[in-house]
């Protein structure tokens, strides 16, 4: 956790200062310093700061959550929030802490009941790795980093081999 920019306590509020719509600075403050900051209105455009401050205490501020990135598909939590669509199946793992309360809100439940694929569910996990590796492979090829590409290709085929026999076994 970040420390307050004005004293040594942990920062609970993260304030973006805006001027004419442009980011002028980032402040990380503890509760005491934040109250002082907000009541003195030192910010040039206090609305941004106030919006952040409305978050309930003890929860990680939205701004930090927004920076979370899914390692598989590269989507940020912020992008998900603005589009309402996730980027890949691995997001459910990458953003688990943020998504569970949301799912609870939507469905009233957070545990699947119902049909299960005949294939071993854990096979999915390996598949998420494949998404990431294939992305990296494409990037490597685009940048003409052929040694890296070859390495990634080998890694992909190892995982593909790992998946295939276990699936054959579960199908049998």
């Amino acid at each position: 956790m970040k420390k307050c920019g004005r004293c040594d306590k942990p920062a609970v509020l993260h304030i973006t200062e805006l001027q004419h719509g442009e980011v002028k600075g980032l402040l990380h403050l503890c509760e005491t310093c934040a109250k002082e900051y907000l009541s003195h209105g030192q910010g040039s455009a206090p609305e941004a700061g106030l919006a952040e401050a409305e978050l309930p205490e003890g929860e990680e501020p939205l701004e930090d959550l927004d920076q979370h990135v899914c390692p598989s598909c590269g989507i940020t939590f912020k992008e998900f929030r603005s589009q309402g669509r996730l980027g890949c199946p691995n997001d459910y793992i990458a953003f688990q802490d943020e998504l569970l309360p949301l799912l609870e809100n939507i469905h009233g439940e957070t545990q699947h009941v119902g049909k299960v694929p005949k294939r071993a569910p854990h096979a999915s996990q390996k598949q998420y790795q494949l998404i990431r590796l294939r992305n990296q492979l494409r990037a490597a090829i685009d940048e003409e980093m052929y040694e890296e590409a070859a390495r990634l290709r080998d890694q992909i085929s190892v995982i593909e081999r790992e998946i295939t026999p276990s699936q054959a076994a579960s199908d049998a």
Binding site: S72, C73, I75, Q83, G84, R85, L86, G87, C88, P89, Y92, I93, L99, L102, L103, I106, H107, G108, E109, T110, Q111, H112, V113, G114, K115, V116, P117, K118, R119, P121, A123, S124, Q127, Y128, L130, I131, R134, R138, I163, Q167, D171
Partner: protein, 355 residues
Amino acid sequence: MDVESLTQTSGEWLRGTGPESDIVMSSRIRLARNLASFPFPNRADDAARAEVELLLRGRLTDRPAGRRLNYLSLTGLETLDRQFLVERQLISREHSDERTHRGVAVSDEENVSVMVNEEDHLRMQVLRSGLALDECWQEIDRLDDALEADVTYAFSEQLGYLTACPTNCGTGIRVSVLLHLPALVITKEISKVFQALQKIGLAVRGLYGEGSQAMGDFYQISNQVTLGKSEEQLIATVKDVIPNILSYERRVRQALVKENRQGLHDQVSRAYGILRNAQTISSEETMHLLSSVRLGVNLGLIDDLEMQNVNELFIQTQPAHLQKIRHQRLESAERNVMRAAFIRQRLTEESTGPE
């Protein structure tokens, strides 16, 4: 299969048979599924989308669960053709947006359609005429198993089938029935139905799903949550409420007949009269009048029309259908003239019987 061949036929689900088909136009179940090793379609680049389409197209045309499906690529298809497929209920409006590597696999009877690279990699649906949710489920469950035999779905033990939108994860199921509720609309009782349905977590939509208007007094009723309840439980939630709505609509219909049979008969006959004689007519007015005619057929106030033909007219008089059937691109005003002529012809043919 191409779009042209579809203009010669109509979906089997319009045939107007099956349990409760006086009010229940159709039953539908759709499942959302994704492949574990690819980003969701919106996030996938062109190459990944192409790979997903190729893979799934192969599976879909390989007679999954013994079903012959015809694959139609949407890439390069004209706007009119894509709109036609939307009107036909074979693809969603979202799926008709111009994006690459999209397609749909359709069975000959149009009871099964599977969209590829819509919001999720797979959106499969099974449609039936009348109230037949169990049959829909059995069929789609088999299709799902067959497709899964060769691909790995994105699935987690906690969150079930993983979907691009968190509102669909878990079972990925949407169970819906399309109801024709003209009497509840006439008497404005329909808002009470909405309120009651909302309380038990069911959604009400128009003929073309999310955000569409309730044209022709048609309402789609479907489950909202998908996680934490089994497919059977979710089907039961929808199924259990339908008898109440049906008896409500029937009760109000009988009350309308009892209180003012002449008035109702007049309204129905005028609607029929306009449709048989109009020289120009909008899509909206057509839907409105067809709804009265459909009610009239059900109440025995009109006796020379088949339900299937009335059902088909709801679909065939829509803009893209009209233009495809007539092989002409038409402006709105021209369409209205063409629509009136088409309806006159269909209703005259129908009521005088085949030669």
